[in-house]
Amino acid sequence: MKGFTSKFEKHLIGVASTAVLILIWKLVSLRIGTDIILPAPETVLLRLEALVTGLDFWMAVGATVLRTVYGLALSFVLGFSAGIASGVSRRVDAMLSPLVSVTRTVPVMSLILLAMIWFKTDLVPVFVCVLMIFPILTANVKQGVAGVDRKLIEFSVVYKLSRREALREIIIPSVVPFVLGGLRSSIGVGWKVVIAAEVLAQPVRAIGTGLQFSQMNLETAEVLGWTVMAVVLSWLSEGILDVIIKRIRPEASVNA
């Protein structure tokens, strides 16, 4: 009962603080009095409503979603394999670590600009997303491998499990929570990077292109409308991932 109350309370406080933020927004927009600088919340909502009725809007959103999903999926595969390889073998680790530390420190904008020279505009956001996220996941997985219970490894040696069995039965299950945790914490960055790359690379259909176009036309309400959509997408994806993480909890995967 107490848990329910505090959860309910938490929601209530969340709703209240959102309401206060919107109220402040409204007051400031009243004070400024120009839609170009800061449109009122309801103006943004109306603009968003007009946007969502158009097919172009959804095509743009769909394209951005696809890019982000591709980017994250590719990062997942790369990060998982690279992380396991560098966790298991010092040589691979030594080989990969310069690449990881370079991609970690290169400014996002440099990556975007370079990618624009090298790739078609549609691919730029995916490429940048992978380069941003994959080192984070690699580091996470490597940490997971390092944390594998040594006693279980000993067990696998004594009972003569093959390397493959040890990988499948011990190392991968130990690492899965780390990689999912890493994905969970980097998914927001993924959306941001993809949209930033879209703003510069200007693929035909993209939330970033929409943002850029609205900004050039000084349609501030539309800029904010696209932004609201991006935030909603990010929240949704985090929610979906949370559900997946709950499902994949070790004790729940009977014959995985």
Binding site: K151, L152, E154, F155, V157, V158, Y159, K160, L161, S162, E165, E169, I170, P173, P250, E251, S253, V254, N255, A256
Partner: protein
Amino acid sequence: MPENSIKINSIGFSYQQASDIRKPLFCKFNMELPASRVSVILGPSGCGKTTLLNLINGLLIPDKGEIIGASGNTSVLFQEPRLLPWRTVRRNIEIVLNKHMGSEQSRATAEYYLQLVGLVDSADFFPSQLSGGMRQRVAIARAFAYPADTILMDEPFQALDLGLKINLTNLFTKLWVEDRRTSIFVTHDINEAILLGDEIFVFSDERPVQIIEKITNPEPHAERSLESRNSMEIEKKLYRLLS
């Protein structure tokens, strides 16, 4: 001696650490562990019992000498159950069998041993859903299900309370009487040594390790009890040796 006894021939071993300037743990150490019997290694903590087991099961390699007869094929019952937390009880046993038999036979073998340890109803549970004693029973089932000639046990009941300890000791005896594999049981508990051991090797406290006494317990396993005169005599002897 039966042919598959384990012979330890003049082995030397020390942990190679710069900080360890003490004498080697084993130096020209000899021992013969008879086949199809339970040999207990009794000695104070840190005297090298676990190291000896790890030398026999191949986790460690002796610096000198050789160990004949274990052929790198051993089951181990660890101090903790060491089950995979993300696999069911059944899978935990099948995993060690897959290499040695088909999946159908693995399943049947796992089922058979779970029956013996009384956990067939918990076969689809995860280790986290079992009590500590139940988990160690799964580990016992796994050790017996694994097709090894030798079973090594490293104080497997140490962390359990007295009731469970007695329970599991009886369970081990029950399984072992049916299937007399060469077993080596390491402990510092005199009662466990008396209940389980056919041969009790008492290790010294100093380095390198010496066997200070070897006691044979002639009483059949099924008839042993701590109150019998035979047990009391062995107990008295062991107390004298260890104090």
